[in-house]
Symmetry: D2
Subunit: 342 residues, 4 copies
Amino acid sequence: MIRIGVIGYGYWGPNLVRNFADRPNAQVIVVADLRPERLAEAQRRYPAVRVTVDASDLIADPAVDAVVIATPVALHFDLATAALRAGKHVLVEKPIASTSDEASRLIDEAARRRLVLMVDHTFIYTGAVRKMRELVTTGELGDVYYYDSVRINLGLFQHDVDVLWDLAVHDLSIMDFILPQRPIRVSATGLAHVPGKPENIAYMTMFFDGPMIAHVHASWLAPVKVRRTLLGGSRRMIVFDDLEASEKIRVYDSGISVDPPSPENVYQMHVGYRTGDMWAPKLAVSEALAVEAAHFVECVTDGTRPQSDGEAGLRVVRLLEAASASMQNHGRPVSIHGVAAR
Amino acid sequence: MIRIGVIGYGYWGPNLVRNFADRPNAQVIVVADLRPERLAEAQRRYPAVRVTVDASDLIADPAVDAVVIATPVALHFDLATAALRAGKHVLVEKPIASTSDEASRLIDEAARRRLVLMVDHTFIYTGAVRKMRELVTTGELGDVYYYDSVRINLGLFQHDVDVLWDLAVHDLSIMDFILPQRPIRVSATGLAHVPGKPENIAYMTMFFDGPMIAHVHASWLAPVKVRRTLLGGSRRMIVFDDLEASEKIRVYDSGISVDPPSPENVYQMHVGYRTGDMWAPKLAVSEALAVEAAHFVECVTDGTRPQSDGEAGLRVVRLLEAASASMQNHGRPVSIHGVAAR
Amino acid sequence: MIRIGVIGYGYWGPNLVRNFADRPNAQVIVVADLRPERLAEAQRRYPAVRVTVDASDLIADPAVDAVVIATPVALHFDLATAALRAGKHVLVEKPIASTSDEASRLIDEAARRRLVLMVDHTFIYTGAVRKMRELVTTGELGDVYYYDSVRINLGLFQHDVDVLWDLAVHDLSIMDFILPQRPIRVSATGLAHVPGKPENIAYMTMFFDGPMIAHVHASWLAPVKVRRTLLGGSRRMIVFDDLEASEKIRVYDSGISVDPPSPENVYQMHVGYRTGDMWAPKLAVSEALAVEAAHFVECVTDGTRPQSDGEAGLRVVRLLEAASASMQNHGRPVSIHGVAAR
Amino acid sequence: MIRIGVIGYGYWGPNLVRNFADRPNAQVIVVADLRPERLAEAQRRYPAVRVTVDASDLIADPAVDAVVIATPVALHFDLATAALRAGKHVLVEKPIASTSDEASRLIDEAARRRLVLMVDHTFIYTGAVRKMRELVTTGELGDVYYYDSVRINLGLFQHDVDVLWDLAVHDLSIMDFILPQRPIRVSATGLAHVPGKPENIAYMTMFFDGPMIAHVHASWLAPVKVRRTLLGGSRRMIVFDDLEASEKIRVYDSGISVDPPSPENVYQMHVGYRTGDMWAPKLAVSEALAVEAAHFVECVTDGTRPQSDGEAGLRVVRLLEAASASMQNHGRPVSIHGVAAR
C-alpha cells in the first residue's frame, strides 16, 4: 500500500486525489492547500483524509511514501526538491518545472536518491495517444511527415505562464511519446492581447533532422473549442479529434506518391494522390488519469522507470523555453541543444 | 458590349469563360490555350467562340476589349504587359505576378494607359467575406484581435509555386479586404516533403502595428479538407467555415473583459469571459465569380476602380515574397516595406 | 429543512441523492435499495446517511418528510401509494406508473391528503426545453406545425418496458410542457428483435385537433447516439440537438408561405420558401436535476403545484398505453380519451 | 449508336440529356417540352439537337430508338405506352407510374414487344448504395434487422403527389435493391399543412415476414436538409449520410448478443453490447446518372434486363399506394398483395 500526499487541491488536484483513492494499492492520506475552503471541500468528500495548509508538514510526514504536486508551476521545483530530499517519490503536474535547469536538477536529485520522479503528461496515458504511438511504431503510418495540432478555446487566461506552457505542453508531451525523432529547432510567434500579460495566442513550429515538421496553434481567445491533431505519414494519415465522443482517432488510407514527369502534363507536378478507406479503431476507454495513477504506483512499488519520467519532462521544458525565446523575437529560430539521439 | 479574350482554358479558365458568357453586357469572343484538346473542349461548349493556340494573336485582335489571363503565374507578367501595351483592359488570375517588382510595373503600365488592371481575388466577391467585412467596418466585431485560417487538403502539388502562393494567397486577399490594418512583419515556416520541390506545408504569421496577429496554415498534404477561418474581435468573434453548405459564417457573442485583480483569486488572471448567443446571418448566394465578372465589366465600362485592383495584388505579392524569404530561414522575421497607411 | 428518503440507488438514484444533498434547505437522511453493494456505495459517499434494504422502513420513518422513488417502474405505484398514505410528499421517477389507472389513483391519493405528487420529467427543467417553451408561448415560432424527435442509441435493453416507455417518455413529457395542444390519437409501430422481449425499436405518431403532428423514433439498436428534435412553426423552426456541447438550440428563420397560383408555373405548387438567419440562443447551464430538486423542495415548502405534477405524469402514461396498444396492431390508430382541453 | 429522344426538360431532364450526350454509343437527337423557354435553353446548350413542343412528334420520329420520359408522374403512363407502342425502348423517371395498375400494363406492353422498360431509380446506381448491397449480400452485415431513413428538407412542395411519392420513393427503390426480403404490410401517417394539398410530412413503417422493420421519414418542411439512412444488421450496422462529402458510408462493428439471464442482474435484460471499430470504405465516385445511362444503353444494345426494371418500378408503386391508403386512415395497416418471394 503506497501512502500518498497531494499538494494543491484546485482544478486538477481533485482528479488526482480521486484516481489515487480508487487504486486498491494506494491511499491518499493527506492533502495540502493554502486555501481553507478547498481543504474543507476535500475533507467533505474524503472524511478520512488529513488536510493541512502547510505543504512542508505534508512533505515531512513520515507516513507519506509519495508526494503528488498539483500547484502553479512556479512552485514545482521547490516542492519537488523538498519532497525528494525527504525521501519521497514524486509525481509532478506538467510542465515539470519553470526552467530546464530546474528540471535537470530534479532529475539529478531523484537519480541520486533512487526515487521515482514522474511528470503528469496525462495525454500519453490515453487510449487515443497510445493507438497513435502504436500506428507509428508498427510502421502502419510509414515515415512520419508532420504533426499539426490546434488546441484552442475561450479562457482561462493564466497569469504566470504563456499559452504555450499551458496548452502546447500537451502536444509536446504527445510528440515526445509518439514521434521517432526530436525537434532540433523551434520558431514561435504569438501575441498578448492583455497588456503586460503572457501571450494568449501562439504558434509554434518545430523542425527536425529530416523531412518532418511539427506545429502547434494554442489560444485562450477562440470562440469555439478545438482539440484536433493531424499526424501525417507516408503511408497513412491520422486525424485525432479529442472532442469526438467516440471515433477520436480516424486513420486515412491516403497519401502521395511521387512519379517521374510525363510529357502530357507540364503544368502539374508529378505527384500522385492516393485516397482509400477511413478507419476508426476502437480505443481503450479507461480514464487516462487512472492508467497514469496505476503506473505511478507500479513504478514506486517495482522500481520501473515511468513512461513520463523526468527526462521527458525536461525535453518538453527545453522546447517551451526555446519557443518563448523565439516568440520574443517574432519567430527567430532557436536551436535545441542537448538533444539526445533517440 | 465588352468583348473579351480569355488566355488559359485549364482548371479555372472555363469558370471565367462561363461567367463572362452569362453577362448580358459582355461576350467572350476568343479563347487561347497551348493545348489543342483544351481548345476543342472550349469549341464544343461555345461553338461561336474563336480559339487559338497563340496568345499573341488573341492580344493583337482589335475586336478584343479586355483580356482575362488564367495561366500559370510565371506567364502573368509577360501576357498582362503585352495586353496592356495593346490597349486592352486586364483581369489576371491570382497572384497578380511572380514578384512585387513585376506587380509594380503592371500597375504603372495600366496607370499610364488609363486601363483597368484587376486581379482575380475571388474570395472578396463572396457573400461570406463581404459579411465579414461588414461586421468589421460597422464595429460589430469591436477591435480586431486576430485572423487565423486553416486551408488544407490532399493535392494538387504545384511545381512552380509553394503552397503559400497557391493557398495562403486567398487569405492574404481576404485580409487585405477586411482588416483595418496591414501587416508590417512576417514569419513563415514550412517544409517540402518531395525533394527539390516547393514547400507543400507551410505556416505564416503576420504581425501588425498594434495588438493584432494573423496566421495561415496551408497544406497540400492533409487527409481531410479544411477551410476554416477564425476572426476574433474585442466584442464578437467569427468562425467562417467555407465547407458548410449553409451557415458558413457564425458570429459568436463571446469575448473577454479585463478586470482589476481580486484578493480571492490569486492563481488566475483577472480576465472575465463572456459567452452569449451565436448567430449565423443569411448570406448572399450569388456565385462569387459572377459578382466579380460583373464588377470587372462595370469597371471597364464606367472607369470605376476595381475592389481588387493592381495595388491589392501587389500588397498580396509582397507578403508572399516576404513569407517565402522567411521560410528559407526557418521563420526569421521579414519586414514588409512600402506599406501605405490605410 | 426538508428531510428526504430516496428509494433506489441504481443508475439514477445517485444523481437524485447528489442534487438533493446539494440543496441548502434539504437533506437526504435515508437511502433504501435491495442490493447491499449499492447501499455500501451510498454509505461510502455519504457517511451521514442512513441506509436500509427495507423501503417500508424508510417510508415509515417519522423523520422523513418526502420520499423520492427511483426504482423500476413496476414498483412505482405500490411505493408511492405507501409513501402518500404515510403522509409523505412524493417525487417519482418517470414514467409515473405502469398504467393510467395507477397514475389516476396516485393523483387522487395525493389530492385527498394535500400532499405534493411530482414526477421526474427531467427534461422540462433543462435550459433548452425551457427556451423552446418560451419561443412557443411568446409566439416567436408562430403556429406549431410539428414535433419530430429521434432518440436512439445502442443499449440498454430493458426487460420490463418497451423502448417507448424508456425513451419516448422524454419526448412526451417535453411535448406536454411546450405544446399548445394535446394529442387526440396515436399510431405506433415497432419490433422486438429479441424474441419474447419488449419492442426495442419503435415509431410513434401523434395526431392533434388541427394541423399539427408529432412523431418519435426510439431505439436501443442504433450504431450511433442521436438526440435530435425538430420543432416546426409557421414563423420559425427549431433544431434541438442535446448532444451538442453548446448551441443545443438552433432557431431557423425559415418557413413557407402559401401564394395564389401563377400562370407561369403549373408544375409546382404555389408555396413560397423563406430562409433567413439562424440563431443559437445562450441557454441556462444549470443542471436540470438541480433545478428540479429545488422546485420539488419549494413545492413541499410552499405548497406550489409542481410543473411536472401527477396530471402531467398521467397524460404521458395515457399516451404510452395507447402507443403500446397501437404497436400490437401494426399501427392501428388508438384514440386518447379524457384529454382535457388546455 | 442509340438515338435518344428526351421528353421533359425541366429540373431533371437536363441531367438526363447531359449524361446521355456524354455516352460514346448514344446520342440525344430530339428534346420535347411544352415550354418554349425550356426548349430554347436546350437548343442553346445543344445546338445539334432538334426540339419540339409536341411529344407525339418525338415519339413518332423513326430516327428515335429510345425515349426517356422526365415529365410529371401523371403523364408517365400515357407517354410510355405511346412510346412502347411506337416500338421504342423506354426509360421513365421515378415513380414509374401513378398506380400499380398502370405500372403492370406498362410491363405487359414492354414484354409483349420485347422492348426495354427501365425506371430511373437513380440511387441504386450510386457507389454508396452498391456498397451497402454488397455488405448485405456477402453477409458482412449478418441478418438485416432494420432500415431507417430520414429524407427531409425545406421545399419544394409538389402539387400532384404527396411527399412519400416524391422523397420516400428513393428509399423504397434502395430497399428493393439491397434488402433480402420485401415488405408485406405498411402503416403510414402524415399531414398536409397547406389545406387541400398533398401531405408534406409523412412517416412510413414497413413490416416484413420476420424480425425486420423499415421506416422512412419524409418532409418538405424541415429547417435543415437531412439524408441519413441507418441499416442495422446482426453483425454490423451502417450509417449512410448522403450529405457527407466523403465517407458517405460508415460501417460500425457494433451490435447486440443475447445472453442467458444471470442471477446478479435482475433489473436489466441479458443482452450484451458489442462496439468495435468503425470503417468508411472508399466508394466509386462515378456520377450515378452516368452509370445508369450506360446501363440503359447496354440493356437496349444487348437485351440485358435492367437492374431497375418495370417490376422494380411496380413494387415501389405498390408500396406507395399502400402508404397513401394507410395515411388516409391515420396509420391503419395495409397489406401488400402480390409480393413475389425473393
